[in-house]
């Protein structure tokens, strides 16, 4: 891609290992700065990956997309009314909007003859349009950078104001709120693992066992909305969906059971964040975008070579067993005499 005689910089910059890998940690100030960025990235991927695992198996991946767009009017209203990026109103407004969006979608799916996908597509785009309108009209007052909305600016996280409770400086606000949400997600999943598993897999069994299935569903949606709101400042509204989906689908090429898939969000989050950080340094592009590129790469590796269903293994298996014999096929049904 170098049809760029006029450009001063080539499209793909030269790779300088030192500059990419070592310079970020050169001084203490820089380490603190970049460290916060990387930590934020890890937290975002971890929280989204964990809750995303359940969202994916419940076939709500696009609902996650819808909610992440649906929060926009809530965010806009919160910023406009409060004239600042105060933590609580932002969370409150955005979660409310997100939940409202998912409620509207479910209402349309039930009460009208619209198909589920049409109801989804219609609702979240309308919410989003409303949000964009609000921002345009009250734009100056809203302190929102539209690009940040769409793909985040994780690089600016350390710049955000510090959160302090009882006089103790905790650190950059988005970072702290993300940490709290991540811990909340981890605890919820550990405590309610069985409930989440059963309601995701078999709705009727869950009811037979006496579970409050609707409550669990909305609890999950609320947790999802919280995660999305705390993550959007880092990765933007559109890339959140990738952080929700990529970890568990990548892991599914390596593991076949839910606990293993959940746990793999942790190593993957490190890879995404650190890899994305370095990639963005090299290419000098959006860090969030780079994180997703790294995630796609990992996904590609899993899809191609993962032991559980990866393409290479499928090919290998087919080459090794081109014609399964009758005996092999019937051996699937062992009978005990």
């Amino acid at each position: 891609m170098s049809k760029n005689k006029k450009a001063e910089e080539p499209f793909i910059p030269d790779f300088d290992a030192v500059d990419t890998f070592l310079t970020p940690w050169a001084t203490q100030a820089e380490t603190a700065w970049n460290g916060q960025i990387v930590t934020m990235g890890i937290l975002v991927s971890l929280a989204c990956g964990l809750i995303g695992s359940f969202i994916v198996v419940r076939k709500l991946a696009l609902m996650g997309d819808a909610i992440s767009h649906g929060i926009l009017p809530g965010l806009a209203l919160a910023f406009i009314i409060m004239q600042s990026r105060a933590l609580f109103p932002m969370f409150f407004g955005a979660c409310l909007a997100g939940l409202l969006c998912s409620l509207c979608i479910e209402w349309l799916q039930k009460k009208s003859i619209l198909k589920p996908d049409a109801a989804l597509g219609l609702t979240f785009t309308t919410f989003f349009a409303f949000g964009v309108l609000l921002i345009s009209i009250y734009g100056g007052n809203a302190h929102i950078d539209p690009e940040c909305l769409l793909y985040g600016e994780i690089g600016l996280i350390p710049l955000a104001e510090n959160l302090s409770i009882a006089g103790i400086q905790l650190g950059s606000r988005p970072l702290v709120s993300m940490l709290v949400v991540t811990i909340l997600v981890i605890i919820s999943i550990i405590v309610f693992y069985k409930q989440l598993l059963v309601t995701s897999f078999d709705y009727t069994l869950a009811k037979t066992l006496g579970l409050p299935v609707t409550l669990i569903h909305y609890g999950l949606m609320l947790l999802l909305a919280l995660t999305i709101v705390s993550a959007f400042e880092a990765v933007g509204v559109i890339l959140v969906i990738s952080m929700l989906i990529f970890p568990s689908v990548t892991a599914s090429f390596f593991f076949t059971r839910m606990p293993a898939i959940l746990v793999s969000s942790l190593p993957l989050s490190f890879v995404y964040s650190i890899g994305g950080f370095f990639l963005a340094r090299w290419l000098d592009c959006s860090i969030a975008g780079a994180m997703v590129l790294v995630a796609s790469l990992c996904f590609g590796l899993g899809w191609g070579f993962g032991p559980k269903g990866g393409l290479a293994w499928q090919l290998f298996h087919r080459l090794k067993h081109p014609h399964p014999s009758i005996i092999e096929r019937t051996n699937q049904y062992p009978i005990k005499e």
């Binding site: 891609m1 049809k3 006029k6 450009a7 001063e8 910089e9 499209f11 994916v56 076939k59 991946a61 696009l62 997309d65 009460k111 009208s112 003859i113 619209l114 198909k115 996908d117 049409a118 109801a119 597509g121 219609l122 785009t125 309308t126 989003f128 349009a129 964009v132 309108l133 345009s136 009209i137 734009g139 100056g140 539209p146 690009e147 769409l150 559109i238 890339l239 969906i241 990738s242 989906i245 990529f246 689908v249 599914s252 290419l283 000098d284 592009c285 959006s286 969030a288 975008g289 780079a290 994180m291 997703v292 590129l293 995630a295 796609s296 996904f299 899809w303 269903g309 393409l311 499928q314």
Partner: protein
């Protein structure tokens, strides 16, 4: 003069606010409607073409339950836009169209490949491609921004849409897409219909199903890409889905859906362009979407047959009718219990038979009186001291209806017990519901099957048609 159009800027944060602020609403409106500005004409043409193209393509994908593919496609084309940009070093529409179409195709191909070769569910696959390609696009575009020839408006234009700077090349590409889409929907209508409905069958009769599918994706990509410039990445999918969804509420046949979608898309686009022109800070894209959504909501609630409001009212009406008829029947039964010796019943008796409270019984009677099924009068025989019981007498109209209802009910009971072997205690409840919906023809058939019976399973008389015609009571 072209600056007037800048009031249609989607993101004033990034553009100059240029429309003459002194222009009043009326003046702006006039300027728009008379199409006096060339830029007004261009914008109107652009948005209308967009509304038509997306509306028509939208009807094809919504009816095939592919609504979210539009969304995925609009995000997936982004790297293609970047590539096209790099190739031509300018915002040349044709290069971008080509690059974006290629990216779109890759995205769609990837989704089918994922579904075929792995256990990944469709919605996850869509999300993966959507965000993965989008991220690639973002990286490339943010990269391009840093290069010399990249400028601010490069990214913004595609992320949020920008009606300003709609060049004539842009309009040509939009016209080109629209004509292709129109051609498809006219000349290949029945092929697309069959292939969309039952691809197995279509294949078996020799239709090139795969080719048609690729054609669909291609034209969808064109519609999406040409609309990206105006409304931005996220809202394109709104233009695809909302008009078509509205059309499915209006009609259930494919051709009308297609036409309605195009029409609604076009009207929303024109109205949106007009409204955002009037306002000085209103972005076009979101306004068009919101106008579209308001069309949808109006149809959802107010459509004369399928609208929710209509359904609520008609079921309320039906319930009223049924309540009325049950009251009539109760009066009849009450009179029957005294062998029609008297001509009226008291409200108290009615209340007891209907197992209702007195106020409720009074309400039911008022409803009867209102519809001229009965009249109320005081009981003459009582002493003035005690409260006068109110008596109900049925009018001839009331009698006719009551007899008809009772007849249907008892015929049905008889039918259920004899032919259908129902337990006796079920029969009342079923018949309660069924009698209100039995049509005359069905009733006559039942009569014939049961050989014109005179008595029901409980031994009560079944009023025959002649009885009713003759004014039964005499």
């Amino acid at each position: 003069m072209a600056w007037a159009i800048l009031s249609l800027f989607t993101f004033p944060l990034h553009g100059e606010q240029i429309s003459a602020p002194s222009d009043s609403l009326l003046e702006r409106g006039y300027r728009f409607l008379t199409l006096s500005d060339e830029s007004v004409r261009m914008v109107l043409l652009g948005t209308v073409l967009m509304g038509l193209s997306c509306g028509i393509m939208g009807s094809l994908i919504v009816t095939r339950r592919l609504s979210l593919f539009g969304d995925t496609l609009s995000h997936a084309v982004l790297p293609g836009v970047a590539v096209g940009f790099l190739w031509s070093h300018s915002k040349d529409s044709w290069a971008i169209l080509a690059g974006a179409t290629l990216a779109g195709f890759l995205g769609v191909a990837l989704i089918s490949l994922l579904k075929k070769t792995s256990r990944i569910r469709q919605d996850s696959a869509l999300g993966l491609v959507l965000s993965g390609f989008y991220a690639l696009g973002i990286c490339m575009l943010t990269r391009i921004q840093k290069m010399e020839f990249g400028n601010q408006s490069g990214i913004d234009k595609y992320l949020f849409g920008q009606v300003v700077g709609l060049s004539s090349t842009d309009l040509w590409t939009m016209a080109f897409s629209f004509l292709l889409i129109l051609a498809l929907s006219i000349f290949l209508y029945k092929e697309m219909l069959v292939a969309g409905f039952d691809s197995e069958y279509a294949r078996s009769i020799g239709l090139p199903v795969d080719f048609l599918q690729y054609l669909l994706w291609l034209l969808l990509a064109f519609a999406v890409i040409t609309s990206l410039q105006i409304v931005g990445v996220v809202l394109v999918s709104a233009l695809l889905v909302i008009p078509a969804a509205t059309a499915t509420l209006i009609t259930d046949r494919m051709r009308p859906i297609l036409i309605w979608s195009g029409l609604l898309g076009c009207m929303a686009a024109a109205t949106g362009a007009f409204v955002s022109f009037l306002g000085s800070q209103l972005p076009t894209g979101p306004i068009i979407v919101l106008v579209s959504a308001s069309f949808f909501l109006s149809v959802l609630f107010f459509h004369h047959r399928n609208g929710l409001l209509f359904k609520w009212f008609s079921s309320r009406n039906r319930n009223h009718r049924i309540a009325l008829e049950n009251t009539l029947k109760a009066v009849y039964q009450e009179l029957e219990s005294i062998d029609f010796q008297k001509e009226s019943v008291s409200v108290g008796q009615l209340a007891k038979r209907r197992r209702a409270s007195m106020p409720q019984a009074h309400r039911e009677v008022s409803a009867l009186v209102e519809k001229q099924y009965a009249t109320l009068h005081a009981d003459q025989s009582d002493s003035p001291a005690s409260p006068k019981p109110v008596l109900i007498s049925l009018t001839p109209k009331g009698w006719g209806t009551a007899c008809r209802i009772v007849r249907n009910h008892r015929l049905w009971e008889l039918y259920l017990t004899n032919e259908a072997r129902y337990a006796a205690d079920h029969v009342h409840d079923d018949a309660e519901k069924i009698e209100h919906v039995l049509g005359e023809e069905t009733v006559r058939r039942i009569e014939r099957i049961l050989s014109n019976p005179r008595k029901d399973p409980h031994g009560k008389l079944i009023p025959s048609q002649r009885d009713i015609d003759r004014g039964f009571i005499s």
